[in-house]
């Protein structure tokens, strides 16, 4: 059953361009959906509309069957965790967590129990008396998460909550949040522009560009079967080659690949791990650089017209710069007019 229903939501700021453009999404109960996209693609704007901090220009947002489109944030069953944690620095940790409960006129004893329980949940038991400024960045972000969780919102909204933390901490908190989210079964919208974050956490990923949905799918599907050239280029490493299709062959420079689609322009997408290279006497490309990562190697190649391709190889020591090579794509996808027209 869908808990959050976003229907045809558009947001135009006074400045002009559409920050979010006819966006629709259904989120199921207990699901974690990641909004993934480059900077300025409208992720935060969308999340803020769900939280009630921005009003959609058109469209509607429904939570648990109730239309909340025009409700202010304080009357929505959502809980937001901000990137800058936005903890109230004039209150200690306990007061930060208790504030929302007090507004709900909960008895003091019950508040104390709840706050203790949620502090325990985020691994900060006994930190209630600390001022928020006396916490590390990771601890502050945990408190911010706890502040939302303690109110048991129907929908948890997270806007790049770990963006300001270092890589190590980010990965740990990511796992913790995912654990807590699954344990509580709380429906979650998570904004990030880190694809590894989205791929590792999400039940489903929404890839956004220019305020529009590019693709909504499970992480593995988004990776394996990107539906638009944008998604193909955005998720993971990808060779995107523009060329012409004629008589069942895609052509670019000396590269020809069999492609059973009508004649016309096309963009070919090949993952580096799906592009084999071999030494050849009739080369189609020359090796530009070889990088050895130990477990595997990466070969940068140039087609005759200078188009740069990447290939992942098991034995990088077989190649050297300047060498002539032949290339064999194993799995390809092709796009035309922003649509996938072929996939092998």
């Amino acid at each position: 059953m869908s808990v959050l229903h976003i229907a045809e939501v558009t947001k135009t700021f006074s400045a002009g361009a559409k920050a979010v453009d006819s966006f629709s999404l259904d989120v199921a109960d207990g699901e974690l959906v990641c909004l993934l996209g480059p900077s300025g693609s409208g992720k935060s704007t969308l999340l803020r509309m769900v939280g009630g901090f921005e009003q959609p220009t058109s469209g509607s947002i429904t939570i648990d069957g109730e239309d909340v489109t025009h409700l202010p944030p304080e009357r929505r069953p959502t809980g937001m965790v901000f990137q800058s944690h936005a903890l109230w620095t004039h209150m200690n940790v306990f007061k930060n967590l208790a504030f929302g409960l007090k507004l709900r006129r909960m008895p003091a004893a019950e508040i104390r129990d709840k706050v203790e329980a949620v502090l325990d949940l985020v691994g900060l038991a006994g930190y209630g008396d600390r001022m928020t400024t006396q916490l590390s960045g990771g601890q502050q972000q945990r408190v911010a998460l706890a502040r939302s969780l303690v109110l048991e919102p129907k929908i948890l909204l997270l806007d790049e909550p770990f963006a300001s933390l270092d890589q190590h901490l980010r990965e740990r908190l990511r796992e913790e949040v995912r654990d807590i989210q699954q344990r509580l079964g709380i429906t979650t919208l998570f904004v990030t522009h880190g694809q590894d974050e989205a791929l590792s956490m999400a039940d489903r990923i929404v890839v956004m560009a220019n305020g529009k949905t590019e693709q909504i799918d499970r992480p593995d599907v988004v990776y394996r079967d990107p539906k638009t050239p944008f998604v193909a280029g955005f998720i993971g490493s990808m060779n995107l080659i523009d060329g012409e299709v004629r008589n069942g062959y895609f052509m670019r420079s000396d590269l020809t690949v069999q492609l059973q689609v009508p004649d016309g322009p096309a963009t070919l997408a090949i993952r580096p791990e799906s592009l084999d290279v071999t030494a050849s006497d009739t080369p189609k490309a020359s090796v530009h650089r070889v990088t050895d990562y130990g477990s595997h190697g990466l070969v940068d190649l140039d087609l005759a017209d200078g188009t740069r391709l990447k290939s992942m190889v098991a034995h990088p020591d077989l190649f050297r710069a300047g060498q002539g090579v032949d290339v064999f794509p194993r799995a390809i996808a092709a796009y035309r007019d922003n649509q996938q027209i072929y996939r092998s």
Binding site: P73, F82, A86, W88, F99, L103, R104, A144, R147, S148
Partner: protein
Amino acid sequence: MSTMTTARGRIDWLGIFFAGLLTIAIVGPLLVVGTWAFTEVWRYPNVIPQQFGFRFWAQTLGRADVWNALMLSLQLTTVVTLLSALICLPAAYAFARMNFPGRNILFFSFLAGHAFPKFGLLVAIAAIFLQLDLIGTFWGVVLIQLVGTLMFMIWIPVAAFQSVDRRMEEAARDVGAGPFRVFWSVTLPQAGPTIAAAVLLSFVGTFYETEGAWLIGAPGIRTMPVLMISFINNQMVIQFGAVLSVLLWVPSFIALMFARRVIGGGAFARGFGG
């Protein structure tokens, strides 16, 4: 290691030097005035007065006009500060957080009033007040001193409100607080230390204000500083002036005590740091 030690040593000397300079500049005059207030005889070559005593205190405090002036000054200052806060704080919030036509022009007009020589402005206002029969009245002085506080009470609180993190306010909305509750529980406490400083500045500034008080208040309204000036002008007894100026320190001390209690060292710095 050795360079570090010498570096620290040098900084220490510099610090002591400046601390000493500051002490001489600030405490020195205060000390001299303070000494004069308790002096009965102090003739030329002596470094220390020949005779200490409370004679001039008794004489000064025995005068009804001194007491009247002190009470009047406290009343005036309290009324002006309260009115100023009542008018300026909501205005400052509006300037900081809302967008309305003419916002910038209005905002800069507050500054413009202070960009021109003040006395000329006062004379012009006095002319208007004369028409309105406000010269020599309590409320006339309140009005003129109110104008004098606008600068502090608008500019500083605007900066204070602007520096409050919007996300903090949004987070409070998010957990269920209405706009008024957010203002009360988040915006005000966050801006509080800086605003308290502004209120304090305007209280002390108003208490010592003389130009407006004299020009608009004379002859009916004589505030403490105005009285002191007339003492100094009319009779050259240093002790009268000294006793009055020591008396005038009282509101400063009260204000400072109040500041310490309300603001506290750390919060004070944070408030100014934004």
